[in-house]
Symmetry: C2
Subunit: 311 residues, 2 copies
DNA sequence: CATCATAAGTGAGTTTTCCTCACGCAGTTA
DNA sequence: TAACTGCGTGAGGAAAACTCACTTATGATG
């Protein structure tokens, strides 16, 4: 009951011959060996043998031969799905290399909250000011450029960065205390009646804040949110005082839904743009990074106003 | 011999031999023919010839031969990037098919505003209630499952759906007028002093609304936002009255940042989950769709409260 | 500086893979 | 029933891929 592939000599799990896989995807697309043969400029016998060979290697049937036709099995269709995507990628890769390809939208990976509070709302601006088409993939933590087909990732350098990657600094992180305007008034009198809002994804945030800002008020209690986004929502709803990144609450501060309690301070980390391709062959990367860096710098400059207004 | 030679000239862009491409990616990874030869269990001569052949087909050098080493050219590196990703995909596809592969996070494509106001904020809940890891790709309009490597797409059926796709209905769309609570008070007296907020991405929204709700008030003027998200922001900031989907403003209504003006009404469109794989081989799809449908249904049920409170 | 080791290019010859051809088979159409 | 269609198969052959042996070029070594 281990693997039934293992009874095929001592061949552990090497990938089947590429030609056979290619032949299979074409045959699967037509559900016909004859048409596949025509497309590949060979005889139907060639296709038949390639696929028979592949089935033997994989140890299971990919087609059901019935009457004078062939039908994909469910498993065969499953494989065909995956493979046809891969071979299409391959054709695109080669065509792209040869230069006959229109530019694809850039895919940018970004942690969910930054995505939510900053990137996506500004996509329309990006499009209109640079003409760049961007798709955003909300995904925190580790990055796998290959698997997720990401062009760029935006991350903070609070974890070790793969030295293979190409790194560009965007802007420093600035953290600060925020709350709803109504809560700010209460705080002036009864500071200890308001809870501090914590986030599970940045558990050490308040602790670090207190280390660098010892004068900041003590709060009544602690409320823990599952997600950074929730904490910001909570703060807006008057649940307490949150500790937030300027880049995530810039628009909420601007609209007055949130109010800053004292100045925002750098926490030592930086936002970075990470790219798998170390060469600046692609201008779109540069355009996007430039736009993003400017935007983030603008947040920080505006910050002066925010701070003065409450100090 | 005729078929081969006859299309030599008319061979504009056929993909190079797969073996040569494979050999190239391995050689590129090592920047060494000898190591590549070892990995592929052939002699270095075989690699040398495969790559020479590939360079001839492509019509440009991929390696610079210098000293007793080979170095990738920039172009060669560019090609190697693309190809190594593809071949890794291929290995994954086969390994996945054979069953030796851990489950990957689901990638869901979704229009930006729904992403923003509903999906991403609820990702943490999804994770904790189903254990499912999901990444969200914010991308409106046409869907290319292949190119974007999407597992599922969430869309409204306001455009023709590719009949090849597997479709599951999630919930009907409900539209309604919303504004900031402060604006609601003003409206009771001076309905015509408040503008209606339009969105460029759904230009016909107000018109359709008026057709089905002839009694709804006329507003002073029209403000057009570039993006649906902006219109909602505008409404929250007291800029006027927006026309919004219940699924996008559910949380803002719940928190009181927005207020409904009269009942929400179905606009005839549905939210759909689209999948490229027509067979329910993947339970994760079902889990996600089930979760999403329940969530959206909950919005609609809650709607009764919202409506009564203002009628 | 001669010598050795290493890495790659090359031409001839060989092995392997893949393809074609011709035919058989079963079901479908006329 | 005969003709046709689409696939499977075995034998033989073409093409692709590989090996081998040798060459070149260049660092490293004593």
């Amino acid at each position: 009951m281990m693997s039934r592939n293992s009874d095929l000599k001592s061949r552990p799990a090497r990938t089947p011959p590429l030609g056979a896989l290619k032949a299979f995807t074409v045959a699967a697309r037509h559900e016909s060996f004859a048409l596949a043969a025509e497309e590949l400029h060979v005889t139907h016998g060639a296709i038949s043998k390639q696929i028979g060979n592949l089935e033997e290697i994989l140890g299971e049937a990919l087609f059901v031969r019935r009457n004078r036709r062939v039908f994909l099995t469910d498993r065969g269709r499953e494989l065909a799905m995956k493979l046809s995507a891969v071979f299409q990628d391959l054709d695109n890769a080669v065509a792209d290399f040869r230069g006959n390809q229109e530019p694809q939208p850039l895919i940018v990976s970004c942690e969910p909250t930054l995505c939510l509070k900053f990137l996506i709302p500004n996509l329309a601006d990006l499009k209109s000011s640079t003409g760049l088409e961007v798709k955003v993939l909300a995904a925190g933590g580790r990055i796998d450029f290959r698997r997720d087909h990401i062009d760029l990732a935006v991350r903070r350098n609070d974890f070790p960065i793969d030295p293979q990657l190409h790194v560009k600094e965007l802007a420093p992180e600035f953290m600060g205390m925020v709350c709803a305007p109504s809560v700010a008034k209460i705080l002036e009198q009864h500071a200890d009646s308001v809870p501090a809002l914590h986030t599970r994804s940045r558990p050490e945030a308040w602790q670090n804040w207190r280390l660098s800002q010892p004068k900041s008020p003590r709060f009544a209690s602690n409320v823990i949110y599952e997600h950074f986004y929730m904490a910001i929502e909570g703060a807006m709803a008057g649940q307490g005082v949150g500790l937030a990144s300027i880049h995530m609450v810039a628009s909420d501060l601007a609209s007055g839904r949130l109010q800053a309690l004292g100045p925002f301070k750098p926490d030592g980390t930086q936002y970075l743009a990470l790219s798998a391709s170390p060469y600046k062959t692609d201008t779109r990367h540069l355009i996007f990074i430039d736009w993003l860096a400017r935007r983030m710098q603008a947040h920080i400059e505006k910050l002066q106003d925010v701070c003065h207004s409450t100090e």
